[in-house]
Amino acid sequence: MMEHATTLSIAQPTTLLPLTFLLPLVGTLILAFSRGQLSYRASATVGTASIGLAALTTAALALGFAAAGPQQLTLWTWIAVGDFTPGISLALDGLSLTMLGVITGVGFFIHLFAAWYMRGEDGITRFYTYMNLFVFSMVLLVLGDNLLLLFLGWEGVGLCSYLLIGYYYTHSANGWAGFKAFVITRIGDVFLALGMFLLFTRLGTLNIAEILELAPQAWQAGDTTVELAAFLLLGGAMGKSAQLPLHTWLADAMAGPTPVSALIHAATMVTAGVYLIARMHGIFELAPTALYVTGVIGALTLLMAGFAALAQTDIKRVLAYSTMSQIGYMFLALGVGAYDTAIFHLMTHAFFKALLFLSAGAVIISCHHEQDMRRLGGLWRKLPLPYAGFMVGGAALAALPLISAGFYSKDEILWQALAADQQGLLIAGLVGALLTSLYTLRLIIGTFHGTAKSDNARHAETGRGLAHGLPLVVLAGLSTFVGAWITPPLAEVLPAGPGDATHVGHSSLELLAAATALGGMALGVWLFGLRRGWLRLANRGPGAGLWHLWHHAWGFDLVFDWTLVRPYRLTVWLLKSDLFDGLFRLLARLVRLLHLGLSRTQSGRVRGYAITMVAGVALILLSLALVIQGT
């Protein structure tokens, strides 16, 4: 009844709200039930249009949001048993609106670009089915007003990620990469699930707003239970957002088509962990230890991934490690309590990383599926648009002062770390900025400058058409300072960060950050541009060791292989013949043995029977005698 009343008072925006996920769902269903009857063009149109309309819906919601404010809409009660009443209910506030904008807006341009990228591929219908299903799940993830619905979206995006990584299914390695991604993120999901169980058991509700309201009444800051709950949520976030030590899946996830990497493994899904922590900030505010650990994990990840990105040759893997590193920055921001800054960086990162991935996709298709820097080079003249995309996106990634979007968000993160008095995190952030400049320069120079190192690169074909050009141009625009003008409406949702009140020393930090970025770029130009022999550097002496270590991203895969995969395989092998069942088979064998033994006595010889009988009688008499004597 109450929901009904709200529906009437602000009828227009609330009725629009379900469209944001219904449109992608309709797209999914049309594509899934077409049973291969749709042409390439029709599939791409349905797939792209559904997201485009969802983006328009989001725009309308954003316009209405200023006037109407947050909204809540319950579609139906999912499950109702006693206190357990999670609903299929949506909540729109500044945070979910920001996420919605990123998902549908950036998502639309990526879908559009995919229409160019996927030309001539088999199973385009399948591709757009999964992509639309992904957007559907992601929208539910950010709109769910309770943790169970959030979890629905959370698992849904994981499934779509798995399916799209393994999109080229005829190569087993792609399928196993998807498998790895799903299983590792599922480990995180289990932590999130346990967090839900704990919160529900203690607070009696799964509604996020109610949890945030009840938590401060139920627990004091630093209480063990709330710390545990926060750690469990953090575990879930780490899995999805590829943070140490659950990060190993992201680099392998690059096996999927490049638009997938742009949408799922850069702009949206991998930032779900950041969204989760920002959404549950009330729990983290009560759990200082967990919050601190969040920041530390972010710092470690951004350094680890920064070094790893320096030693990759595949352009998509460079971008994958760079994504990990940038999400590390977001976690760092969360860890110092600057939730709004983390979301701001999430947004700008979505713009410039999507741009970088799409530009990379353009390069890959133009160069006939060549994506190894060792066989690229000298492309800047032939591929001006992707080159421009890389320049603008790279500038934003490396936080080029003043003109790039990345500068504003990253500078803000460093400032918040300083204001929170976390020097350790600040230094990690600055070192990370240096690394970012270095690997960005290496990526751009290795791909576009120098000489073409293979026939594929020499015969690069320039991409054409609206689907190719428009996404790159729009995202490039958003990756400059223009994107930084967009201020997410977060003030009502998230608490102020530590650096929001004062600005003493902000400008000197800005100078330091700018100097780091520029210094890194200069170093990069010198190392990779002027001294050309950057690959040889990695071939000799300690350089080779470091290269090896960083190329394999510090060897985490090996560690997991020996500690988890191999023991599990061994267990499977040991139990293969069903140990417990073996016990019963043993029993059966014993009975059979007895049967054989006793059937021997049935020899048919009278003499044998007579002896047995006499012996039996003697035995009975003897025992009787003993018993009688005993009494």
Binding site: A80, Y169, S172, G175, Y568, V572, D578
Partner: protein, 507 residues
Amino acid sequence: MILVWLIVIPFVGGLLCWQAERLGGRATRLIALATMLCELLIAFGLWLQLDFALPASGGTQWAVEYRVPWIERFGIDFHLALDGLSLILIALTGFLGVLAVLCSWREIVRRIGFFHLNLLWILGGVVGVFLAMDLFLFFFFWELMLVPMYFLIALWGHSGSKGSTRIGAAIKFFIYTQASGLLMLVAILGLVFAHHGNTGEYSFSYAVLKETTLSPTLAFWLMLGFFVAFAVKLPVIPLHGWLPNAHAQAPTAGSVDLAGILLKTAAYGMLRFALPLFPEASQAFAPFAMALGLVGIFYGAVLACGQQDIKRFVAYTSIAHMGFVLIGIYAGTELALQGVVVLMVAHAFSAAGLFILSGQLYERLHTRQINEMGGLWGRLGSMPGIYLFLIAASLGMPTTANFVGEFMVLFGTFAIAPWVVALASVGLVLAAVYSLMLMQRVHYGPPQSDTPLKGLDTREFCMLLGLVALILWVGLYPQPLLDTSSAAMQDIHRLFDAQSSPLPEAR
């Protein structure tokens, strides 16, 4: 009287099928189909007509009852009764019966009449189990459903790899279930004699025996008798040995019934008899039962990974899923018990679907060996998409019924035993491992040949689409199901609650 019809219809239908073989296979199949549809419609009609939401206050807990004296000397009645739980399971029996008839449409070509006789008699026996409220009658039906199953495996089964024959599997199935049935008979008689000792009257009535006062030791042993009997059927590790063979060697219809309904009779037995008859003893036993559930989850998951036969694979995943059921039953909170109901239904759908698909794969490839598959995605039309959906259901993806069931069990158990839930949740990761491993090895990878195989025909497609729709429906709106079983589950929960308050752990 309607309850008697529910039991009689499958038996009569079976006899008709047997005789109708003279008219040809098609007539037999149509009669069997009509019988099961009739059963399903009656169950549905009862669901619309009766009110299960009202908790039984003072009066009887049954929505419908039928009772005539049978062997008065020993206090044995022909007593049938129906509540929400029984109705859900009977409707499930009817539905899976329809599927079982449909999926053997092409598969069974020999002795069609006798096959359907056995199939329908199994289902009749199962319905009897779900309705009997007299322990003697319950035992009667419990044994009755085994014999036709034996014939189903022995006569129409497939021989497996490594010399495991269908006869061997059938015998193993029969010995396991007979031995456990014997144990249950002893426990039933023990209970009846204990009641006789107290009051001087013989009675096999559920309602009467429920009130029997027992010494804790005796109650424990009798409870154990019931538990072991049901544990064999569920199955609980280490009593599961019959299941992989029986599942793998049975014809598709047999596997569907085994996984879909026969396993559920065990969970039903625990909910209906083991817990209400011996609440204190069950409460004391709960930690062990939950531990056994955990063992099942892990053991089933690990063994599923090592299987080469797709049907054995599904069999072991059933063991893992039933681990969740066992944990939920013995957690005893209303949420967990309701979760058990949903999970039973969900597992019946998803396991039945996977067995049907395995059968269809076998019809096309003439093998069930996983290493002879691979790369099938592009060759089978829309079948892999449905396979993917059922795999997602079996690994507990939200929007599927399995998710709702598993998570309700876990949510409900967490308040009682957080560590059990923490460990069981690891099972969710293992579920992802074995499910996606199967997907990978069967459907992905390089195709072994480029020739397309026959896609799904209308009959197959409709069966599977129906399952998919039901899984989604229960996954997104399980409330009709929950409302139906709510009163029955609250009853059981109250029994448990009365015991659990003094326990320090419960807080």
